[in-house]
């Protein structure tokens, strides 16, 4: 492998016309360096691609493909049904969406460790952190990638419903004028859902180099909070407005009902908390989880 460079360079200096392959020796790099910003972008894009298993073996693509496909199916089915009924049945955004919240949890729990635990598992983290990357910027780049991916996944089924509703209407242009305002709730819903999933999953995944533990703890946390909410309602008779907010999955479902102006019998009897309360709780969860993530990345031994 290591031909003495002195000999090869000598032959180059003498012309080396006979050979076509030259070992030019080591060359310095004095081109541009994007510094910390370039490194942040790299970590973001690499993370974003990892979330969907792009550039990874097919095994890594299984969960993302499954979740994206399966979460779109009910939306497509609803759009087809509404189209077939010639607009007789109204499109139920929240009804369709509530069922998909568990799928999003699956995606988030499976993919967050791919990004955050893997670097610790394979001990790549020391290499990354000795480059133009600080511990905090690593945490934030990964979180941004996680959030962006989750946002697209959470948005896709709603967007299918939204575009579908316009598409199957008798006069799409008229419907579009009516529907203009509905894009707000669609975007807000996807943003809040992505925010809760990505921050909580990233925080838990960063705490362990073992991917299976990370996945289990993410799903576990959401399920435990569901159990706690149920227990508090049955045993401690916590008021519904508060109880509604303890369980993130249920809170996201209820918020969808509120945002899309849909309702159930239960909601009529026990009016849900105002939208601002949901947003406040989600922001607190996200801020707390982000703090944990940054704290953990600043302390992790490499």
């Amino acid at each position: 492998m290591s031909k003495p460079a002195s000999m090869t360079r000598d032959s180059v200096m003498r012309g080396g016309a006979a050979s076509t392959i030259h070992d030019l020796g080591y060359r310095r790099y004095d081109g541009p360096r994007d510094g910390a910003r370039g490194a942040f972008r790299t970590l973001f894009w690499q993370g974003f691609r990892t979330m969907f298993g792009v550039g990874r073996p097919w095994k890594s693509k299984a969960v993302p493909v499954f979740v994206v496909v399966v979460s779109m199916l009910p939306s497509l089915a609803s759009v087809v049904a509404v189209g077939a009924s010639q607009g007789q049945i109204p499109l139920q955004y929240a009804g369709v969406y509530a069922a998909q919240l568990v799928l999003f949890l699956l995606f988030s729990a499976a993919q967050a460790p791919e990004m955050l635990s893997r670097d610790q598992q394979h001990r790549v983290l020391p290499l990354i952190l000795t480059r133009n990357v600080t511990r905090t910027s690593y945490a934030l780049a990964r979180l941004a990638a996680m959030f962006t991916a989750m946002f697209l996944v959470c948005l896709a089924p709603l967007l299918v419903l939204y575009l579908g509703e316009i598409g199957v209407a008798k006069v799409p242009s008229e419907t579009f004028a009516d529907m203009g305002g509905k894009i707000g709730p669609v975007l807000l819903m996807a943003t809040l859902a992505a925010m809760v999933y990505s921050t909580v999953s990233a925080a838990l995944a960063s705490c362990t180099p073992r991917r299976a533990y990370a996945t289990a703890s993410i799903i576990g946390l959401f399920l435990v909070s569901t159990a706690i909410a149920l227990g508090l309602r049955d045993l401690a008779a916590v008021p519904n407005e508060v109880n509604e907010l303890i369980d993130p999955l249920r809170a996201l479902g209820t918020l969808a009902m509120v945002l899309f102006g849909e309702t159930t019998r239960g909601m009529e009897l026990n009016p849900p908390p105002p939208v601002a309360a949901f947003i406040a709780v989600f922001v607190i969860i996200a801020a707390g989880a982000t703090t944990v993530l940054v704290w953990r990345m600043r302390r992790v031994t490499v």
């Binding site: 290591s2 460079a5 081109g31 370039g38 690499q46 073996p57 394979h122």
Partner: protein, 353 residues
């Protein structure tokens, strides 16, 4: 060692007897290469540590280590747990010192950490290669983490991988690599952003003797031809002796000894002679030397001659003359004639005890 034959291995005033070897067996003639000038902020000091201390709970990994390291290839030697890795990690800014201070190329390891990182390449001791990534992907990802733009990162990755001797294999997932290949990828990722200082933590760990030689050759080439300073840690003194200009020995977090390899392995008062002769001729040869009052010892094919006063150049020349005359008289062929050199291990053993 490939590359330039070391001047420090030369044999003082007497030329090495190599004329019996055919020309192609002789070491390559050194060629003065126009080296790229090294632009270090401070050329005289590469690393300076002042009372550097690091404690992990009750364990003191570094105990007021004070050392200054000049550019070139420096070996960091110590037993396992002597504090080598801790020292290296403090220099890299991934471990904070509990006390004292350290500078790399005139930049403080805590306050000017970001600047140091652009100048330093790090090859860790442990495995650090994701098994399902290819070497090309991994090394260019690392280049981009150092802020190189995408195209430049790909080009640099291809270049350094070729450099460390990884060719077609670089497109395969790294999970299937041998230890030797993995070590090369680790070296490549440390070189990819063109650092001014390479920090290599136990780079020959787990390699077979051939792989070890190749890795040492690469390190020596990096240090001497690419103009990159190298700090290489190892618990094996013997292999550092072969590539380093300087050795820093630490023990229990303290500096035990620091010296030039040349000075440490300086010539001893013994001449080693290898002969091409029958046993009776060898006996005649040694008898003639003994008759001159020299202390002679026969060691299998070799004859060792003590020089009475090694520091006196005239006395040394007299001994060489005596050997020449004796060889002529006894009609023996001289295959090798050189001053025996000291071994670092002996010196460090003396320092440690």
């Amino acid at each position: 060692m490939v590359g330039k034959p070391d001047a420090r291995r030369g044999v003082g005033p007497v030329p090495r007897v190599t004329s019996l070897r055919p020309a192609f067996l002789r070491p390559p003639v050194p060629i003065a290469l126009p080296l790229t000038p090294v632009s270090l902020p401070d050329r005289s000091t590469l690393i300076a540590a002042q009372a550097l201390t690091r404690r992990y709970g009750a364990v003191t990994a570094l105990d007021a280590l004070t050392v200054t390291i000049a550019p070139g290839i420096t070996g960091l030697v110590g037993a396992n747990g002597a504090g080598k890795s801790t020292f290296v990690k403090i220099l890299l800014g991934i471990v904070e010192p509990s006390g004292g201070s350290a500078e790399v190329m005139g930049r403080h390891v805590v306050t000017e950490r970001e600047e140091i990182r652009a100048l330093v390449g790090y090859m860790p001791e442990h495995d650090c290669l994701p098994p399902d990534m290819s070497a090309t992907e991994f090394v260019s990802f690392m280049a981009r983490c150092s802020g190189l733009p995408a195209t430049a990162a790909r080009e640099r990755a291809a270049e350094v991988l070729r450099h460390v001797g990884l060719f077609e294999e670089r497109y395969r997932p790294m999970g299937g690599y041998s230890t030797g290949m993995a070590q090369r990828v680790k070296l490549a990722q440390a070189l990819v952003h063109d650092p001014r200082l390479l920090i290599l933590d136990e780079p020959t760990n787990g390699l077979d003797p051939a792989g070890r030689d190749e890795m040492l050759a690469l390190i020596s080439r990096t240090g001497r031809e690419f103009g990159i300073s190298v700090l290489v840690s190892s618990h094996l003194l013997g292999e550092l002796e072969r590539v380093c200009d300087r050795i820093v020995l630490i023990e229990q977090g303290r500096l035990l000894r620091e010296a030039q390899v040349g000075a440490l392995t300086s010539e001893t008062g013994t001449i080693v002679i290898e002969l091409d002769a029958e046993a009776f001729a060898v006996n005649a040869f040694t008898a003639r030397l003994s008759a001159r009052g020299l202390l002679v010892q026969v060691e299998r094919q070799r004859v060792l001659v003590e020089i009475p006063d090694g520091s006196n150049a005239d006395a040394v020349r007299d001994v060489y003359d005596a050997v020449r005359d004796a060889a002529h008289a006894a009609d023996v062929g001289l295959l090798r004639l050189e001053r025996r050199r000291g071994h670092l291990a002996d010196l460090f053993a003396a320092a440690a005890s």
